[in-house]
């Protein structure tokens, strides 16, 4: 197919279909609703995609887990409050080892917050939102074409890692229209890995700690640790094959900007003055890459749509201070980036002048 104009949220749906998704459940919420609506329209003419507009996000999240166990590649899409409601189910999918995909089109929270304004405040929630320990894999594209591409990667990675994989987006990216050529994006599709329900076994898919034979293991720390380490090892090993990032702009500059998702696009005019590190795989954090690249720079600046969520992660990984440019209240614009850089004394003179002109 030739080039076409496509919206970020619609690109997610097309990526899911390309990856072999056959089940979607969701509940309307801005700014993710276009994924749900596009899924319903697609399902009407392609009955192989089963579609459920569920009663809420809790039902959606649990339904995609049931669908995946039954043999379908499945996904949901939500935002802010809906994503919060899904946290218990995400932990459950981790515990069961169920491949499925959660799309979180971020808006400004907490609570109902600013429903149509872009934010990046779910970075830590995608890692730690459910209770207990588990190993999250999260991707965050920056362009409409990447929404398509990384949705396919998310499905593939979910299959290989046997875990719920999160695809992050935001109100800006989800609603962005760009010209894309999907045919130019060629990501091989990983087939189904989990043997579907009723294949002749008597397995117990239990959120409760159990031994392999189904007996409760609710007081056996050794068994818990054995199962936990096994799941963690698989997920880390698979995540290694999906260590996507971008390192570029002016690599000889003395300051490294770290930005991801739509923020990286907004910050594009900084290119002549800064080096750029853009994590696409947000979790597990790209620790080796950061530790290799960051020491080349005098200063690090994290520009993000939250009050330092990713910055705190970078500090922890590198044991060094980073400068922060938080873009809050939906003010995700070059203007806000300039203001933030000025506040910390890092705004290049050329960019300051551009503001005046």
């Amino acid at each position: 197919m030739a080039k076409r104009l496509l919206q970020g949220n619609e690109a997610v749906l097309l990526g899911a279909v390309k990856a072999g998704a056959t089940y979607f459940a969701g509940y309307p919420i801005s700014p993710s609703s276009e994924v749900l609506m596009a899924a319903s329209v697609y399902a009407a003419s392609h009955p192989e995609l089963r579609f459920l507009q569920a009663e809420d996000e809790i039902a959606s999240a649990n339904a995609i887990i049931g669908a995946s166990l039954a043999g379908a590649k499945s996904f949901t899409a939500t935002s802010g409050p809906g994503y919060s409601l899904m946290q218990e189910a995400i932990g459950y999918a981790h515990k069961l080892g169920v491949p499925t995909v959660f799309v979180d089109v971020q808006r400004v929270g907490p609570a109902t917050g600013m429903p149509t304004m872009p934010g990046q405040g779910d970075i830590l929630q995608t890692r730690y939102g459910s209770s207990g320990d588990y190993t999250s894999i999260v991707f965050y594209p920056s362009t409409v074409a990447e929404c398509y591409e990384y949705t396919i990667h998310a499905f593939n990675c979910a299959e290989e890692s046997r875990s719920p994989v999160i695809l992050l987006s935001d109100a800006f990216l989800g609603h962005l229209n760009e010209v894309v050529d999907l045919d130019a994006i060629d990501v091989p599709v990983v087939p189904r890995t989990l043997e579907p329900l009723a294949s002749g076994h008597t397995r117990l898919f239990s959120g409760v700690a159990t031994y392999p034979d189904g007996e409760p293991a609710t007081a056996d720390g050794d068994e818990f640790i054995r199962q936990y380490e096994e799941a963690k090892a698989l997920r880390l090993e698979v995540a290694d094959r999906y260590a996507f990032y971008e390192y570029g702009w002016n690599k000889d500059a003395d300051t490294l900007v770290i930005a991801f998702g739509i923020t990286r696009r907004i910050a594009q005019p900084l290119a002549p003055h800064f080096a750029l590190f853009r994590p696409i795989r947000i979790w597990p954090v790209l620790q080796d890459q950061l530790r290799e690249i960051a020491p080349r720079y005098k200063r690090l600046v994290v520009i993000e749509g939250s009050d330092g969520q990713y910055a705190s992660v970078v500090e922890r990984v590198l044991y060094r201070d980073v400068h922060r440019v938080p873009l809050l209240g939906g003010r995700m614009s070059l203007e806000a980036v300039r203001e933030g850089l000025e506040r910390i004394g890092l705004l290049p003179r050329e960019l300051a002048q551009a503001t005046v002109s």
Partner: protein, 265 residues
């Protein structure tokens, strides 16, 4: 074949307290499954957190032990993806009607082909006997020392908001009638709900004055009566099966939305 082939007897003894009613449900369910030829290649069990939900671990099927309250969305999705399967939900009254109440409301409305056996012990058994939405008014529990305050949820009324649905009331004392209700539910072409009164002897019965499970079963024998044949509405403590008109078409996934949503929330 025997009902025992449907049960992992090697895992016995179960974790259930001696005298608990759940085992009586498992035996009748296994018997019906055996009669109807349900096996691990055509049937999936879905259970929720609670004493009742442990049943999935003891049966010879693939079984999904869901989060507390979430059996129905999981079961409905399985039935959507694999319409050829028998999808049997077994869960507690708290799980299905309290934390899972919203899913129950909407599963009834959508009428998926799933069968729900509700172990209605009128209490939160697993967590130690707190009052729940099925606890009769006045019952003293560890969380209602002066007696439960609110009227129990009307399960029959809820299920029958869908004219296509199936509702049966039975007890663990009335084994033959329970078996019939489970069998007809499994054969029903849509959503079926079997409301099974049973005893939680440890965390409820003894506290409300029953010395043992035996007295509770005798109480069910004395208190419950078969409804007159053809009843379309069961009175309190009446046993029977109320069937709607079977839906003419299989439930289908929601089709395309027309128009463009323009609001925001």
């Amino acid at each position: 074949m025997s009902y025992k082939d449907k049960i992992k007897t090697d895992l016995f003894p179960t974790i259930w307290c001696p005298g608990c009613g759940i085992g009586l449900i498992m035996t009748q369910l296994a018997t019906v499954m055996d009669d109807l030829g349900l096996d691990k290649s055509n049937t999936v069990m879905v259970t929720g957190i609670g004493c009742t939900g442990r049943m999935g671990a003891y049966m010879q099927f693939d079984s999904v032990y869901t989060l507390h309250g979430r059996t129905l969305p999981v079961a409905e999705a399985i039935a959507t993806v694999r319409p050829e399967l028998n999808v049997i939900v077994v869960s507690g009254d708290g799980d299905l009607t309290s934390i899972g109440g919203n899913h129950l409301l909407h599963a009834i409305r959508r009428n998926p082909r799933i069968k729900v056996l509700c172990n209605n012990n009128e209490i939160y058994g697993l967590t130690g006997g707190q009052t729940g939405p099925t606890t009769p008014v006045g019952t003293k529990t560890v969380s209602s020392p002066a007696g439960a305050t609110f009227s129990p949820v009307n399960l029959q009324g809820l299920v029958n908001t869908n004219p296509n649905a199936f509702y049966a009331k039975t007890t663990v004392y009335h084994q033959g009638q329970m078996r019939r209700a489970i069998k007809e539910a499994i054969e029903w072409p849509g959503f079926a709900f079997v409301d099974i009164t049973s005893q939680c002897i440890e965390n409820n019965g003894r506290r409300i004055g029953f010395p043992s499970a035996n007295e509770m079963l005798n109480y069910y024998k004395k208190e419950y009566r078969q409804a007159p044949p053809g009843s379309t509405q069961l009175a309190n403590h009446q046993l029977g099966i109320v069937k709607g008109k079977p839906a003419e078409t299989e439930p289908v996934p929601v089709g395309a939305a027309s128009g463009n949503g323009s609001g925001e929330a």
